[in-house]
């Protein structure tokens, strides 16, 4: 299973490297959403405070695009069928695609973070660097697991462009909530109006715990359910 996962992940990342679709299209898209948020919200003091939320919103929307792409690659020339016939371990396919998706997400998030710092004049408290990094990693795992699972369910189906957001967005809500709260703690964002002055870095860690539970639950569910889901033509 792990061997298959490595092969599949390497394959997906090679495809991305050769086609540069993420770097050329998805990253600009994510960056654009950050800019559009600023346009819509219009007030600098607000954008600073909601920067963590906007970051994770942009990431979530980009997740949908990335998942669509990950499975369109498979269905384009019937590769998914061939994967089935070849008897490649479905759990391995799942983990491999999730891994590749996670790597792409991490790249995306790194650049989004830079974007947030630049566009929203956010200053991250250096003491919060560890929390930020860990949160991002754990949340990314959760997103990758859940995205690959639901992507597999919708793969090749008619109407999948609208089905996937409908299925995925409710599920990632806990990640959105938890990761945003953790980021708020890590950034040391102080609203200045007394509402969130009590947020300290230590407050962020319980959220990371919840994110870890999320990732573990869906990782396990995915390994078990991906095979049966891929099964029915």
């Amino acid at each position: 299973m792990w061997r298959t996962a490595r092969l599949v992940a390497a394959k997906d990342l090679t495809i991305e490297w050769r086609s540069r679709q993420v770097t050329n299209q998805v990253l600009p898209f994510a960056g654009l959403t950050l800019v559009l948020f600023a346009f819509a919200l219009d007030r600098d003091d607000i954008t600073v405070r909601v920067a963590p939320g906007l970051f994770w919103l942009a990431t979530t929307f980009s997740l949908i695009v990335l998942v669509q792409r990950a499975f369109d690659v498979e269905t384009a020339d019937g590769a998914l069928d061939t994967l089935r016939v070849a008897g490649v371990d479905p759990a391995g396919i799942y983990l491999g695609k999730a891994l590749a998706l996670a790597v792409q997400l991490v790249v995306l998030e790194t650049l989004l973070l830079i974007g947030v710092i630049v566009f929203y004049a956010t200053n991250i408290d250096p003491a919060g660097y560890v929390l930020t990094a860990v949160t991002a990693l754990v949340a990314t795992c959760g997103l990758a697991f859940v995205g690959t699972l639901y992507g597999g369910l919708a793969a090749g189906a008619k109407g999948r462009e609208t089905l996937l957001p409908l299925l995925l967005l409710p599920v990632v809500a806990p990640v959105l909530i938890g990761a945003t709260r953790a980021f708020e703690a890590a950034f040391g964002t102080d609203g200045g109006d007394g509402i969130r002055s009590g947020v300290e870095i230590a407050d962020g860690w319980p959220w990371v715990g919840m994110l870890a539970v999320f990732a573990a639950v869906f990782g396990a569910a995915g390994v078990l359910a991906f095979g049966p889901l891929m099964e029915e033509a």
């Binding site: 298959t4 092969l7 599949v8 394959k11 090679t14 495809i15 050769r18 086609s19 690659v73 384009a76 020339d77 019937g78 590769a79 069928d81 061939t82 994967l83 089935r84 016939v85 070849a86 008897g87 490649v88 099964e231 033509a233």
Partner: protein, 232 residues
Amino acid sequence: MPASDPANAASSTDAAAPVVELDDVVAVLGRFPALAGATLRVNPGEVLLLKGPNGAGKTTLLRLCAGLLPLERGHATVLGHNLAVDRSAIRSEVGLLGHQNGLYGDLSVRDNVRFWGRTAGASEQEIAAALAQLGLDGRLATVAAGRLSAGQRRRTALACLIARRARLWLLDEPHAGLDAEGRDLLDDVIRQSVAAGATVMVASHELERAQALATRMVTVSGGLVVASEAVS
């Protein structure tokens, strides 16, 4: 006694156990009964030609033998496994080449064959050999699959099939899209794999060429197997 006896590779119990045994099989696509009671028996080492009009059910029959479609009615055994019980058991031993090639457009030819080969446990030599067998080891090896011509993509898909070392080959109109040289190459490849112990089922409209290859011919029509004749 042939040098390589495929029957011994197939099963240890009955030397003449058929590779494929279909008994009154009904398979549906949506609500349409693509196979309406097909009965067929394929012995080890045979090259079976499936002929018949479009829409007769040839593709469905091949996909069923690959374990991709569920059985609605009837009985089907492939390589000793009962398809009604477990369709996934035969997966790694069967190779299907359908209308699509199953390639990744952004990967090079070599990367494609390498991926499909290595997920089936092939070694680097076997992968290189597969590429060489189809004339893909030169300049073409580094070209992205999406930029190849249809014929070249077909050849790449065949290389992937060889690299996976399947025991049962299911080829759905494999000659389509190939030029004369490619078709000769395909025939050679089929002969070589049979010599190495595989069994082949080919659905084709290229009757002359396929008949030269085949050991037996069946006609598929209206979801049924209606005729069978040996080819001399």
